[in-house]
Amino acid sequence: MTQRQTQKPLLNVEHLTMRFGGLTAIDDLSFQAESRQITAIIGPNGAGKTTVFNCITGFYKPTVGMLTLHRQDNDYLLERMEGFDIARHAGVARTFQNIRLFQRMSVLENLLVAQHRTLMRASKFSFAGLFGLPSFKAAEREAVELARYWLERVKLINRADDDAGDLPYGDQRRLEIARAMCTRPAMLCLDEPAAGLNPRESAELNKLLLGIRDEHGIGVLLIEHDMSVVMEISNHVIVLDYGRKISDGTPDAVRNDPAVIRAYLGEDEDAEVAL
């Protein structure tokens, strides 16, 4: 318990509420996500999972609530920051349900764009880069090195020079994760990374995510429908239904929670009558 108090959670969501006109998409949601853990957010369609991500990454301004990200002894209040500031300073990277790679750029370039900030500083806004100054060359080499590392991790090193748009679907998904990791994030938000993957690809994804969690010490926040992924790799599962949290705990605890079963399978009306 004392450990808990001295160590702030990576992400602390408190009383998050998001209303669109009369519709309440998220209703008073509080949860925490830790570093070196995979936190999964699950729930039926329309439960508000992606809306949570959009609030965390600055796409939406929450109606009510406080989102605190703790990174290197700094607290960032995400609800007050613009999207690109969240990416730059708070170190939140995300992927989307629908793939958003730069289709007409090469695989390698996609990963270099993600390191734009360090490169841009090193290149003195392109001038040094244009004249090939050594400081820029060193930074560029380092960026390519990091990109190469991630391409090897996601097994795309052989396709580095192909256009991202030409890759098969599963490869594009992995490339998106690699690109997000190239921003050197503190927290990685993945929106349905296993959607559309076959079982073999899905198993590979599990391995990759576990590797990211264990070797890079970052927190992973995951939205996923594929329960084999969720139950196998998450440390912590949060279940949403109609924008409200109905369960929160370890995969096993959540799996056996009657409220969760009810949300997924529906009420057993006969049983209620019988009671």
Binding site: G83, A87, R94, F102, M105, V113, L130
Partner: protein, 304 residues
Amino acid sequence: MEYFAQQLINGLTLGSIYGLIAIGYTMVYGIIGMINFAHGEVFMIGAFVALIAFLAVTATGIAFVPLLLLIMLATSMLFTAAYGWTVERLAYRPLRGSFRLAPLISAIGMSIFLQNYVQLLQGARVKTLQPIISGGVVLMEKDGFTVVLSYMQMLIVGLTLALMVAFWFMIERSSFGRSQRACEQDRKMAGLLGVDVDRTISLTFVTGAGLAAIAGMMFLLYYGVIDFFIGFLAGLKAFTAAVLGGIGSLPGAMLGGLLIGLIEAFWAGYFTTEYKDVAAFSILVLVLIFRPTGLLGRPEVEKV
């Protein structure tokens, strides 16, 4: 044959100038999807700044031509780039996220404003410049007709080529170019990866204005006559060039510029000078009807 060669040289020279302006249109369109109608005026300002720089430098007694040209070039690029940056900052950035027509109207307003601003400050009368570089190489001579490649034309085409190579290198290889292309494809995503989208857009305007400044200076040196209204027609022609080449495509802008220059030169040479603008703009109409994406443009294919 001789006549043809001469018109070819003239057309290429003119086309280089159009091409440099067209790049500004096409880059801005690529990144924020709007036509910057004030770009022609930015070109005009480039010509004026070059002229002012020329007068200021000659007043100090420097008469060494390469140095003179270099100072004109640097001054014109610097000031014009500042204008490009300011136009974007004042007239377009506040309207980003507004409906699509808003920045377009704002651009037209900016164009009118800049014309009148220069007219007020510099007067409405044409300004002239004595030729700084004269002479040339006689390439062919036959029956009293000589084909001349002037030093001025060499400078224009040569400088344009050099700029194109440098610019291509910057877009394809540098970190700025990479982020520029990324913003072109998905601005929101680029922002989420830590690219400062606003700055990238600003830099796009700055580079576009820098190239337009060089075009303005070339125009001044080549024709020796400028006024506050030159930006209108040159801008429109360059816009046509950008559309002809495929708006959003950099090689397209250059190719379109050269083609428009050639069409104009040949039309003026073989038909009538009065109707050369009609020829250029007829091409615009035909391209829009038969090949709306332009020569090198990418058709929008939606994946279903």
